[in-house]
């Protein structure tokens, strides 16, 4: 890396900005509030098949359509981060951004002006010998002290990051848990290798509600997105499937829609942050598709409204509330911001 802040590796056009990273990218997060310079920070996690991976924080200036890297805003990360996330927007923005990452453990990082400091490593493992990797986590927007992690040990752990303590741990599924999403301050949902989507309420930890099960039991559900604009809706994706399954939590079991226009497996989904009926999906067919949920599905299924073709398989997708006009995707070693 060079020494100074610079514009690097990006191609510019009116409607998209591309950032090229030295390594393949997977995890990606867009900060919820702009930094001092009105730029948006974007954290990018590498996917390297080695222990030491890398997280870079770049900044995006929507006015100049430029992406800047900063040599100080980068740190080593054990294993490829499975997810990165900035602190949810708060009414009292602190001086620095808090960034969380998941992998072997949940880690908190403070992103300062010119540096990043490790704040905490949250380890819930009972033994030192083994750790159960975390496949994902979600930061509770309403109660930002709460982070929920999910692990292949079938549990979800709710952390109080102010106390750096476990609030609760639940055996959420019968198999590995792959993703978790908050709906309300105390309500979260998770998906698992057991093929189910379950909703949990921290006020009643004894029970969960299964609102969907993959048609073939034990077909893993990999990702879950809860529509923050309309909490009735969630979306999930199945492993090795080109389908995006849209669920209405009021009518469990039966999906309200299945979006099947990808021509390869879907890798990522994100609800529009500003409307309640739109969702974007991206997959191995290198396409990103924007869908509007119809009230009634046509006989031939649902067509997306618009599409974008990337250079290769799209691995990640973020549609951030701070920048609803921009969708971030990553494919191979590139991060791309697409204007919508």
């Amino acid at each position: 890396m060079e020494n100074s802040t610079q514009e690097s590796h990006h191609l510019r056009s009116e409607n998209s900005v591309t950032h090229e990273s030295p390594y393949p990218l997977y995890a990606m997060a867009v900060s919820s509030s702009p930094s001092r310079h009105h730029n948006h920070r974007i954290a990018l996690g590498s996917f390297l098949e080695e222990y030491t991976n890398r997280v870079d924080v770049v900044s995006f200036d929507p006015d100049s359509l430029s992406i800047k890297t900063h040599p100080g805003l980068s740190f080593d990360h054990p294993y490829p981060p499975t997810k990165l996330m900035f602190h949810p927007p708060s009414s009292n923005p602190s001086k620095s951004d808090l960034l969380a990452s998941s992998g072997d453990y949940l880690r908190l990082w403070e992103v300062r002006e010119n540096s990043i400091e490790s704040v905490a490593v949250l380890n819930n493992s009972k033994t030192s010998e083994f750790c159960a990797p975390l496949t994902s986590f979600d930061w509770n927007e309403i109660e930002p002290k709460r982070i929920g992690t999910c692990s292949i040990d079938t549990t979800c752990t709710i952390w109080d990051i102010e106390k750096n303590a476990v609030e609760t741990q639940l055996i959420a599924h019968d198999k590995e848990v792959y993703d978790i999403a908050w709906g309300e301050a105390r309500v979260f949902a998770s998906v698992s290798a057991d093929g189910s989507v379950r909703i949990f309420d921290l006020r009643d930890k004894e029970h969960s509600t299964i609102i969907y099960e993959s048609p073939q039991p034990d077909t893993p559900l990999l990702r879950l997105a809860w529509n923050k604009q309309d909490l009735r809706y969630m979306a999930t994706i199945l492993m090795d499937s080109n389908k995006v399954v849209i669920l209405d939590i009021r009518s469990p079991a039966l999906p309200v829609a299945e979006l099947e226009r990808h021509r390869a497996s879907v890798n990522a989904i994100a609800w529009a942050p500003h409307t309640c009926r739109h969702i974007c999906s991206a997959g191995d067919d290198s396409q990103a598709l924007i869908w509007e949920l119809p009230t009634v599905a046509g006989p031939n299924g649902i067509d997306p409204m618009s599409m974008y073709s990337a250079g290769s398989e799209i691995n990640q997708l973020q549609w951030c509330a701070a920048q609803p006009d921009w969708i971030a995707i990553s494919f191979s070693n590139k991060m791309q911001l697409l204007k919508v």
Binding site: P62, P89, D104, Y178, R277, D284, I290, S306
Partner: protein, 969 residues
């Protein structure tokens, strides 16, 4: 570009949107926001020849999202060769409680339950099929029921995992056996609404039985409906299906013994709703009614309550209770105790069990007092005497006798008679007037239907076949009280089925089932002599107590049951209790045997034939306590029963089956019964023999004989118990009655009823001379409390909302709920007490029999009642509602009258209308009186009132009397 102005707004939804003008608020903006054509472009479907071939990608490299989820462990290992992860360390989700392993090498908890965790794998050792535990559906004393995933078939099943105790294992094998018979032999096409059994095996020393996975039970369904009744169309739909199942059971000669809403389950995602009967863990074959304490209390039939011999008719009683409950949303007889139960029956039905039952039943004295001259009965003068000699005890009397207050449950209905309860049940809201009128008609049909089912007299109670012809079931307009057809022999069906049992075909049981159990104490099949001359004393009697003791001596002989007898099997039963007792039954072709290995020969069933590996070790059996066998088998009287071989039930050429009962004590015994096989005879046969080809000789003698007969029930062919009533009924008649030509004669002391093959012999028996009995019908002054014109919708009935009348909805609506639990647990309880502790030959381990006996009580553990009460949550044992005794003498006095109705007539009815007449014309179906629902159809009850003249003359014409039904043939 554009207005991408970052902002600090914390609220995600109140965001500065790309098109702020378009999105005043998120919800309204939803439809209007459109992705613009910047980076994205409009979607156009493309040819499938995209640049990316998915398969190629899969080969080359899995998507990152997969590599960081499904394959994260591999990924981490690539990143760090030292990384390791062990699933063993995952926190286990225990499904079994307690989850501390203390028995069976830590596999079992203190209750001998296998400790299950999610993804625990059960393996059938023979087929290697794997069952992966996903959830526990229910628990009971018998063990647990788990929902399991079967990878091999990609399906879920329900697996009953029996406790690791011989008693439970053996009990469960009875269920396996009975259900396998029902499935394979009687219902190969799965059309009779009986749960399917798929597999069974032993895993970690637990017997595991795999069933098809079903859905919610009917109790849960009612509960979901907030204890409001289901719509009549659904009640009808379910009734029809349950009847299908019960008809099959009757054909097979099997008594379910625990029919209740909890044991009837919706099938998964069936449209329209389909149901199945489950839990045959208490079932028995009709000939082996070993246990006296059966059926869940609310659904317990009067004969079981009273300790009288029972038949498949007890399931019909339960069925009636279920139908009523489906309609009402609440149990018809929510008795908090047996006393309470009986009181409710008497009150709601009006009437009481017939004297012939009361005379024989062993618990009669607990609930009734004798107010007549028994001698009169013995002298066959009961028919002249118009009142029953028994009167139900009042609460005070009961308390005085039992030295404790009976538990009395809460009243749920303000009306205390069946007609009023059904008629006045609130209609659904907003029901158009024409629909109300329509439904009121159906309700009349329902009342008539229920009357034939919750009939005190087991002999008069309708059979499944008869009930299924009722307009309520068929949907035909209900114009007049239903007159059931004579019971059809179902010859063809039965024969075909039975032919399968022919020895030539081998032992189905051994052939079909035993392989799975190979290796465990397996005993060589006794292809025993068809005719085994078994010394009485050594006889392998399954049912009777005595047999256990005697078994010691003749263990080997027990095998007679195992053999399907090519022709005649000779059985001897010996009851040590009554030293002189003996019972010999010879059955042609051993048809019975074919299906009976299952039955209730709890103690040896496995030792014989079945090949289940129960080795009858004499020693074990020896210690069987008397308590294990129901009291009904320990009567002081002894009897002998001898059935004469009749290949008949198997083939047309063998028309009959004979049984002879004789009392070795020398008392005159009403002994011999020559009877057809089950299913061929209508149970009502007790009353009259009129079919030309059937012959009954009925001889009647004094009590001693009768009681002896009662005991014999277990050995009797199906209908035999039903003959007993007739015998007693006949008191008023001649000592002997011969109808039709009898080919085989028995000594006069005996009662031989021979029924012959083809349909000729469904006897629609009617009691002779019954007409004389009609008297005093009006003499009973009903207690005012019985009839409450002001129905109040208290309790759960307050709101009758629209329930889903759409049948198809039912299945889906309650789709995901699985409820084997409650049902099973109930069963379990009972079982624990009833199991005769098969201990004898332990299935898995040879436990000392003594050990398993410990929990077997001859009596009824108090826990039963409590348990049931709790389960239903509807009974409030503590709720003491004083109830005036309605068992007035006069009412009892009507009892005899009922006899004169033909088969289906019920004393209850008779009382009922009488009742109505006195009190509430509004609720009666009379033609003259005001009719609330304007169902004119009843008015001229023309066809049914054939003998309106005689006994009922005392009844005003305005009431719908029994007379309407009282056709005398």
């Amino acid at each position: 570009m554009d207005e991408v102005s970052p902002n600090n707004d914390a609220e995600p939804q109140a965001r500065d949107l790309g098109r702020a003008s378009d999105s005043a608020e998120p919800s309204s903006s939803s439809g209007r926001w459109h992705p613009r054509q910047f980076a994205f472009r409009g979607y156009a479907s493309q040819p499938e020849t995209g640049p990316m071939s998915p398969s190629l990608r899969v080969v080359v490299r899995r998507p990152m999202v997969v590599r960081l989820t499904k394959e994260i462990v591999e990924t981490y290992r690539i990143c760090n060769p030292h990384f390791s992860y062990s699933e063993e360390l995952n926190p286990k989700r225990y499904l079994t409680s307690p989850s501390v392993g203390v028995l069976n090498d830590g596999y079992d908890n203190a209750n001998s339950d296998l400790i299950l965790t999610v993804n625990f794998v059960l393996v059938n050792p023979d087929t290697k099929r794997r069952y992966i535990v996903k959830d526990v559906l229910g628990q009971g004393t018998f063990g647990q029921v788990a929902k399991c995933w079967v990878p091999e078939t990609c399906s879920f099943v329900a697996v009953k995992i029996i406790k690791n105790q011989p008693a439970y294992s053996q009990q469960a094998l009875v269920e396996v056996s009975i259900l396998t018979t029902l499935n394979k032999k009687y219902d190969p096409e799965d059309k009779h609404h009986i749960v399917r059994i798929y597999d069974y095996f032993v895993c970690h020393q637990h017997l595991c039985i795999c069933f098809e996975l079903l859905d919610t039970n009917l109790y849960e369904l009612i509960k979901i409906n907030h204890f409001r009744g289901l719509s009549l169309s659904i009640v009808q739909l379910f009734s029809k299906q349950i009847l299908h199942g019960l008809a099959l059971l009757k054909d097979a000669g099997i008594i379910h013994c625990d029919l209740k809403p909890e044991n009837i389950l919706l099938c998964t995602s069936m449209k329209p709703a389909e149901i199945k009967i489950i839990d045959f863990g208490s079932a028995c074959v009709e000939e082996r009614t070993v246990y006296s304490y059966i059926q869940s209390r609310y659904y317990r039939s009067p004969e079981v309550l009273l300790g009288y011999q029972y038949t498949t008719a007890i399931d019909m009683w339960s069925f009636g209770c279920i139908v009523a409950e489906l309609f009402l949303g609440l149990p018809l007889f929510p008795g908090a105790s047996e006393f309470d139960l009986l009181q409710r029956m008497i009150k709601i039905l009006g009437g009481q069990p017939p004297d012939y039952v009361l005379k024989e039943a062993k618990n009669t004295s607990k609930f009734f007092k004798c107010i007549g001259n028994v001698h009169d009965m013995e002298n066959f003068q009961a028919s002249i005497c118009q009142r029953s000699v028994y009167q139900a005890l009042s609460e005070e009397e009961f308390e005085a006798r039992e030295l404790k207050k009976p538990s009395i449950g809460k009243e749920y209905f303000n009306y205390m008679n069946l007609e009023a309860i059904v008629t006045n049940y609130p209609y659904r809201k907003k029901l158009p007037k024409e629909d109300i009128i329509k439904e009121s008609q159906v309700r009349l049909a329902l009342i008539d239907f229920l009357r034939g089912l919750v009939e005190f007299d087991p002999a008069k109670r309708w059979s499944p076949f008869q009930a299924s012809g009722h307009p309520f079931v068929t949907g035909e307009p209900f114009t007049c009280p239903y007159q059931p057809p004579l019971e059809t022999p179902r010859m063809l069906v039965a024969q075909n089925i039975k032919v399968d049992h022919h020895p030539g075909g081998g032992h189905w049981f051994a052939a079909g089932l035993s392989p799975n159990v190979v290796g465990r104490n397996r005993v060589p099949l006794h292809s025993s002599p068809n005719f085994q001359a078994v010394p009485y004393a050594h006889a392998s009697s399954y049912g009777s107590l005595g047999s256990h003791g005697s078994y010691n001596d003749g263990a080997g002989l027990g095998s007679s049951y195992g053999s399907y007898g090519d022709n005649a099997n000779f059985f001897a039963y010996y009851s040590p209790v009554g030293p002189s007792a003996m019972n010999i039954s010879s059955q042609g072709n051993g048809k019975m045997l074919g299906s009976s290995p299952d039955a209730r020969w709890r103690n040896f069933q496995f030792s014989h034939a079945n090949g289940l590996g129960m080795s009858p070790s004499a020693g074990n059996i020896a210690s069987l306590p008397l308590g294990t066998s129901p009291s009904q088998f320990t009567p002081p009287n002894s009897y002998g029963q001898f059935s004469v071989g009749s290949p008949g039930q198997f083939g047309p050429q063998s028309p009959a089956r004979g049984s002879l009962q004789g009392s070795p004590l020398g008392k005159p015994a009403a002994a011999g019964q020559f009877n057809r096989r089950k299913g061929w005879t209508y149970s009502g046969s007790s009353q009259v023999q009129e079919s030309s080809s059937s012959m009954h000789w009925q001889g009647h003698h004094n009590e001693g004989a009768n009681s002896g007969q009662a005991e014999g029930s277990s050995q009797l062919p199906n209908e035999s118990p039903l003959h007993l009533p007739s015998n007693l009924n006949a008191v008023g008649r001649k000592q002997q009655q011969v109808v039709g030509g009898i080919s085989s004669g028995f000594p006069a002391v005996q009662n031989v009823s021979g029924s012959f093959a083809q349909g000729s012999n469904r006897q629609w028996h009617q009691t002779l001379g019954a007409a004389d009995d009609m008297h005093e019908t009006g003499s009973s002054l009903p207690n005012p409390g019985d009839w409450d014109p002001n129905y109040s919708d208290e309790l759960l009935l307050e709101e009758v909302e629209e329930e889903s009348s759409d049948k198809s909805c039912l299945a889906t609506e309650f789709g995901k709920v699985m409820h084997l639990s409650s049902a099973e647990s109930l069963v379990g309880i009972r079982r624990s007490t009833n199991v005769p502790t098969s201990s004898t030959s332990s299935f898995i381990r040879q436990h000392g029999p003594a050990q398993s006996f410990t929990h077997v009580e001859p009596g009824k553990p108090p826990s039963h009642d409590q348990y049931f009460g709790q389960m239903r949550g509807l009974s409030n044992p503590s709720h003491f509602v004083p109830q005036p005794s309605h068992n007035s003498l006069s009412r009892l006095g009507q009892q005899p009258a009922q006899r004169l109705y033909y088969g289906r007539a019920t004393s209850g009815r008779g009382n009922e209308w009488n009742y109505n007449k006195m009190q509430a014309p509004a609720s009666s179906f009379n033609n003259g009186g005001p009719h609330p629902h304007g169902n004119n159809s009843f008015i001229n009850g023309m066809s049914w009132g054939r003998r309106a003249s005689d006994a009922f003359t005392s009844i005003p014409p305005t009431s719908r009397g029994r007379k309407d039904y009282g056709r005398i043939a």
